[in-house]
Subunit: 108 residues, 3 copies
């Protein structure tokens, strides 16, 4: 057995848990927050048979892949009758994955 510890962005965690559960993996969600000046990370624990680790990682990569998102700027406070929103690209997604060996596993 292996333990997959996945640190993902909050906005991806719901869909990731759904996809992993559909694929019959058992997921525990820990409340977490990012490090200094970062926020919004979720840590998931997934206990999995050795030969299924790659499948789990594949699902995480698919759901959490970094991608560009188009967002638009919002006007400052004040007169913005002539405001033209400017589309800007932001990077979202990403994940950190640790795979650790489990010496003993019990489900009661």
């Amino acid at each position: 057995m292996k333990l997959v510890i996945a640190i993902v962005h909050d906005e991806d965690s719901h869909q990731l848990i759904e996809k992993l559960t559909e694929a019959d993996f058992s997921v525990t969600k820990l409340a977490s927050t990012g490090g200094f000046l970062k926020s919004g990370n979720t840590t998931l624990l997934i206990g999995v048979q050795k030969e299924k680790v790659s499948e789990v990682i594949k699902i995480i990569k698919k759901v959490c892949k970094t991608r560009k998102q188009i967002t638009t700027t919002t006007p400052m406070i004040g007169d913005n009758s002539n405001y033209i929103p400017i589309p800007i690209e932001v990077i979202v997604g990403g994940a950190t994955i640790f795979v650790v060996d489990i010496e003993r596993f019990e489900k009661i």
Copy 2:
């Protein structure tokens, strides 16, 4: 040294921490929630000497064993002067336990 990662139900966590502490084990409680559509799990980290792992697991099994609980149905809103509560059985308890090898342990 081994690290026991125990994911237990919230309702068992208080008693489990108490029993483990009484048996001289040091427990760290992480805030956690269950996976998709599940809720109310707590994750505990217990650092323990190799030869004590079975003792820890025995305590977890004792406190968190799945058991049937009799609960009674509650009446719907409205006139329930003739309501007869029906006893129903629910399964409570259960735990997932991962034991991981610790390569280095420091307490400062």
Copy 3:
């Protein structure tokens, strides 16, 4: 790769994350609370190359070392016009550190 799991006191966690980040380590902060009758612990996950483990532990020891702090007693409610605060020593700091081997590490 190694995973350093550090359980530190809340009051040290901000400075520790800052110091580790400055030293180019990537830190994930998990929300956590202490065991029975204890409170205010934070768990940090730090993924790190094998040869950097000692550097991480050195930083943790420096920031989280147990030390005496002088605090003063505060008066009870009521007439305290003659109250003389008494300086008392309290022990703060401390940490529990687990180092675990990572079999596979992915950053996406």
